[in-house]
């Protein structure tokens, strides 16, 4: 195929043309600073209000509970660091999972250096958090439970409602990194007892560099970025107005099209998974089969290494990932794949394909054909495959 086949929608997505369209006026026409008092800026403020309402609606929140940030990572940092500080008098213990995104894990490591204690809960072989272990980990000093809504590598969706119930029962704040789930699967912060939630626009066909932290009304949380009085004095800095408008538009479209997109993506996802499993030997699927994001396929090919596979796919104009986009270039296999119990060499041979609403069945079939050829080629040059076949004989 001449055309690029983009199967890395968990890393980032194409901004929808309608979203860009909505943003455009805010660069060269409605460029006023929303903090100014003239009418020119009031128009901008109204645009922000509308966007905020659209974002809030996706998770059943109030507009006033949405605080825009520079992305999902900032939202995660804010939630964890601010809770650790504001609730220090109550305790210094945070509970999270072993398969969080680095935005959570590296923030936890930072906090650990500053006297916070963190318990990292195990997940089962499908990547689902061990609820009993989580509840047992609660101490009188526990101030926060932070568990991601859906995993960025293996697509597993956590039992968020159950975690929310546990948090509520023990009167502990509950934060969820919903960067991968926001706009993709139904979320209701009230029903699920979510106190704080992180999202990022570029994962739902919105622009990069804008996200939000949902903070339940009544929760005390200091600013993470101090300065001007923007975002009701909770997040300083001139608002990224076009970004906010784009996030709003993307959220609106994501909500409207959620069911239809999920149906289509699940069809493509399942086709992809089925053909790979049927036609390539020595493969395993990672992540839960049922509690799974509509767009995520994660498979491990025994005896081969993921980067080689990615480069060969790239030479066929297929964009894919071998774990988190953030960690490629790193030498360690993905912490998520290790946490679900994969041995190192299997973890290294993993491939993540994340479909989007623009992908076609034809693209999927072309991709599987290429994967088959490449896996065969790489196995032919693999010493591990050689050893395995010799042992079998």
């Amino acid at each position: 195929m001449e055309k690029k086949i983009y199967l890395d929608n968990a890393a980032t997505t194409k901004t929808r043309p309608e979203v860009v369209e909505a943003m455009l006026p805010y660069f060269t026409e409605l460029y006023g600073n929303p903090s100014s008092i003239y009418e020119f800026s009031a128009q901008v403020k109204r645009g922000i209000d509308e966007a905020r309402a659209k974002v809030a609606k996706v998770i059943g929140a109030e507009s006033s509970e949405i605080f825009f940030t520079g992305g999902g990572t900032e939202a995660d940092n804010w939630a964890l660091k601010a809770v650790a500080e504001v609730y220090a008098s109550k305790g210094n213990h945070i509970i999270t999972s072993k398969i969080e995104h680095h935005a959570i894990l590296h923030t936890c490591e930072y906090l650990e250096k500053n006297g916070v204690e963190v318990t990292y809960i195990d997940v089962d072989e499908n990547g689902i958090i061990k609820l009993d272990q989580l509840e047992r980990a609660i101490r009188p000093t526990t101030i926060l439970i932070s568990v991601m809504f859906a995993n960025n590598e293996i697509g597993t969706i956590q039992p968020i409602k159950e975690i929310g119930a546990i948090a509520k029962k023990h009167d502990i704040l509950f934060h969820t990194d919903a960067v991968q789930a926001f706009g993709q699967v139904p979320i209701d912060v009230n029903e699920m007892n979510i106190d704080m939630l992180s999202a990022s626009a570029h994962k739902l066909n919105g622009p990069k560099g804008i996200g939000c932290l949902y903070i339940r009304k009544g929760i005390k949380l200091r600013s993470f970025i101090h300065g001007g009085g923007q975002e009701r004095k909770r997040r300083a800095g001139t608002e990224n107005v076009p970004g906010i408008i784009g996030f709003g538009k993307a959220a609106e479209i994501a909500l409207e099209t959620m069911e239809e997109r999920a149906r289509k993506e699940i069809r493509l996802r399942d086709l992809l998974m089925k053909r790979i499993l049927d036609e390539i030997p020595f493969v395993r699927v990672n992540g839960d089969k049922v509690r799974r994001l509509p767009n995520n396929v994660n498979v491990s090919f025994q005896f081969i290494e993921g980067e080689s596979l990615l480069i060969m796919l790239d030479m066929n104009n297929i964009c894919a990932s071998s774990g988190s986009a953030c960690t490629s270039g790193s030498l360690d296999p993905s912490h998520v794949l290790l946490a679900i119990g994969l041995p190192h060499e299997i973890a290294h041979g993993s491939l993540r394909l994340t479909v989007g609403h623009e992908n076609t069945e034809e693209e999927i079939n072309f991709t599987v054909d290429r994967i088959k050829e490449i896996v065969e080629k790489l196995r032919r040059m693999s010493p591990l495959y050689e050893d395995f076949m010799k042992k079998k004989q």
């Binding site: 005896f303 980067e307 480069i311 790193s330 030498l331 060499e345 040059m381 010493p383």
Partner: protein
């Protein structure tokens, strides 16, 4: 990310395969780091490397350095082969990204390991060849905190 030379050797690796009853075989690296290289040498009675084959489990750089290393030692004497350092392999490939330099070390190690195997089988000692380590560790720079 990779030079054209690397991409060429990755896409069309030279000397992939096995040698039956090889004079020496060496396997280095480990699955933890995601790189395993195996080198087969066919050495004639004059100590010249008549043929060389490799198999590699690893990233693009690992495959390309294996391929380049086989080219560099083929037809060489054992002493000449010992002089094929990781630097020579890297230079021949027009460089590697910093994070991938360890792959070229692995290729050097693989040749040494195969020569060591040859020497052991022959019951000889090769001047300037030490017992290879089986693991290659690297100290990744941690800038973040």
């Amino acid at each position: 990310m990779y030079s054209q030379k690397v991409m060429d050797h990755f896409t069309n690796p030279r000397n992939v395969g096995e040698i039956e009853n090889a004079s020496g075989v060496g396997t280095v690296g480990n699955a933890k780091c995601g790189d395993i290289m195996r080198m087969y040498l066919d050495i004639d009675d004059n100590g010249v490397i008549r043929d060389v084959k490799f198999k590699t489990f690893g990233c693009g750089a690992a495959v390309a350095t294996s391929s380049m290393a086989t080219e560099l030692v083929k037809g060489k004497t054992i002493q000449e082969a010992l002089k094929v350092t990781n630097k020579a392999v890297m230079e021949a490939l027009d460089g590697l990204p910093p994070v991938k330099v360890h792959c070229s070390l692995l290729a050097e190690e693989a040749i040494h390991a195969a020569l060591w195997d040859y020497a052991e089988k022959k019951g000889i000692k090769i001047e300037g060849l030490d017992k290879p380590k089986s693991d290659i560790h690297e100290d990744e720079e941690q800038e973040e905190d």
